[in-house]
Symmetry: C2
């Protein structure tokens, strides 16, 4: 696996998960910015649709040892592949049940929270249904974080599963950043905030933060 | 892993994925019905919240060899665990890249389609936003199936990835069933329909079908 190129967007949480996994594993990659708002959304361009028919970020491109060019989308599928190709340091707990719990928390963020408040959904809530997109996003984040705060209790150490960074932290940190964009009060989730603070001290989490990316445009 | 109990609902597509994986692997389990509509949704009861704070189905319960009782939620995390504990027959392609493609298609259904049209979201579209929940569900299914039809082309054989059933088929079949509930015209997706027909001939797909479950109440 060489010549890795990551099509991503600084503030997309799914992009962030993959970027973070690459940084955690120390795998170098080229950053290709796809602006989700500019030009009606660059992910909707014909050029990007040929890279990824789902029109989502991130997409990882690379070359195999035999020269074959490959592409893959869906953040958790990419993380699983990176784990198989670059096993150390691992982002999966050693113990089978703890590994399953890490995947459970990751999937809960990935399928139970993030999709309900991503850009294309918020746009449709606002434009088609004339709904309050901020209230919609806040509702699903609050509901999800309440469940996550309970879910993390049996395994929490310094991080979501014990004292080692795992896939669960990789998904949690971008989601908390997203929740703040809906002006959500996060004080009911002290365990999640404590874990987030521990992650913030980790060099890979610092390097992968949205504000540090080349296409960042903080308000 | 013994004494498996699956808390699930006949028509929930996430429940169906786990049920199907158990049938594909020939693992016996007890079926515990959680009715998502009766009693204001049995998943919202205190009893079920103590089983699963996310209030989602499915949840798998089992006992480890040493007597420890375990619980796990999130369909794809459960499928990954079942694959690790009961490796044959496998629901993951042998080849690393094809395995990643199977996970990509599964995640696209799991996070890009199903969450946007699940029961709790449709209820909120209707009750809070006074929106047309059927039109909402149809929109995301049509958009998703269009992408899936393109995505499956490079690998499709009898099934989504070659001629062996994988995780991708496990996610596709319940999603197509769900799409029909929104009265969607599926003729633009001939490859997906052909794969669905091949799956319908497989005994495990037959055994896991919603209409065959103890809590089924077909209209």
């Amino acid at each position: 696996m060489k010549g890795l190129r990551l099509h991503n967007y600084w503030r997309s949480s799914a992009s962030w998960r993959v970027r973070l996994t690459l940084h955690l594993k120390g795998v170098p990659f080229e950053y290709v910015a796809v602006h989700l708002l500019k030009d009606g959304g660059q992910q909707n361009s014909d050029a990007y649709r040929s890279v990824n028919p789902m029109r989502t970020v991130p997409t990882l491109e690379w070359m195999e040892a035999d020269g074959t060019e490959r592409r893959l989308s869906q953040s958790l599928a990419i993380v699983e592949l990176l784990q198989e190709r670059f096993p150390t340091p691992s982002v999966f707990p050693e113990d089978s049940y703890l590994r399953a719990r890490a995947r459970m928390m990751a999937e809960y963020v990935n399928s139970g929270m993030q999709p309900l408040q991503n850009l294309s959904v918020l746009q449709r809530i606002k434009s088609e249904l004339k709904g309050d997109d901020k209230a919609w996003g806040a509702y699903w984040n609050a509901r999800g974080l309440e469940a996550l705060e309970t879910m993390v209790q049996p395994t929490a150490g310094r991080f979501c599963v014990g004292d080692t960074v795992s896939l669960a932290d990789v998904c949690l940190v971008p989601q908390l950043y997203g929740a703040r964009r809906f002006a959500l009060d996060l004080s009911p989730y002290p365990t999640l905030l404590r874990i987030e603070a521990a992650c913030a001290e980790h060099p890979a989490f610092q390097a992968a933060h949205p504000d540090r990316q080349p296409d960042a445009a903080p308000a």
